[in-house]
């Protein structure tokens, strides 16, 4: 998924869900990476200007639950997930 060879600027797709979506006013956004520096999920969150990343919010990269300090690659799908309330 590393697109650094392509013409498009390196970026990640950010997904918000449920209350985070309402808070931000959007559900999906393309966020540019500051290549060549490696950025973490938490650093991307901080760019969103939604306050501190709540401890209860889970992070998924490419549909795997990971730590908020997981590094991102261009083309990744990064999702921020409020506490689950299904079932």
């Amino acid at each position: 998924m590393n697109q650094s060879q392509s013409d498009a600027p390196p970026s990640v797709k950010v997904l918000l869900f449920a209350s985070l979506r309402d808070q931000a006013g959007w559900s999906e956004r393309c966020i540019a990476l500051n290549a060549p520096a490696v950025q973490t999920a938490r650093e991307i969150w901080d760019q969103l200007e939604l306050g501190d990343l709540p401890q209860v919010v889970l992070v998924a990269i490419n549909q795997d639950i990971v730590s908020a300090d997981h590094p991102l690659q261009a083309g990744d799908e990064l999702a921020f997930l409020p506490p689950f309330t299904g079932g």
Binding site: L15, A18, S19, A60, Q63, L81, F84, T85, G86, G87
Partner: protein, 148 residues
């Protein structure tokens, strides 16, 4: 022995559904002696006691199914059960509508009952679903599940 791939069936459905026909199909797909089932429906009151107009359910497609499948396989193996069926609604639900159906089959009733209960808890705590209650035209995201 790990369950074979077709031993976990997951359906995320976005329209009203009683779940009974789907349950019947699944029951006919296997012949295990013991099946434990749980069905959850929308209450007519919100968490704060006000009348509930609707319950909105959203999920993270893809990750949601993958996490449910992983939980189901792990729990089937742990409890010595054979097959699991999960049917979960998303979208706007009215009071009385089915939210979730969980069914687990096994050779013995104890393992089937315990695994079904554990899989329901996994759905509530480990799968990316979110509920929003609507009362008087105002939507409120739930911050936690109903107690056991």
């Amino acid at each position: 022995m790990l369950p074979k791939p077709d031993e976990v069936q997951i359906v995320i459905h976005d329209q009203p559904i009683s779940g009974v026909l789907q349950l019947d199909d699944w029951l006919r797909s296997q012949m295990d002696a013991a099946t434990a089932i749980f069905m959850g429906r929308v209450r007519d009151v919100a968490m704060d006691g006000r009348p509930l107009e609707a319950l909105e359910l959203s999920h993270y497609p893809g990750l949601c199914e993958r996490l449910i499948e992983a939980s189901a396989r792990q729990l089937l193996q742990h409890h010595g059960c054979r097959c699991a069926f999960v049917l979960h609604r998303v979208g706007r639900l009215l009071p009385g509508e089915l939210i979730v159906l969980v069914a687990v089959s096994a050779d013995r009733r104890g393992p089937a009952q315990r695994c079904c209960a554990a899989l329901l808890e996994a759905l509530k705590h480990d799968a990316p679903f979110w509920k929003r209650e609507w009362s008087n035209g105002v939507g409120t995201w739930l911050s936690e599940n109903t107690p056991l």
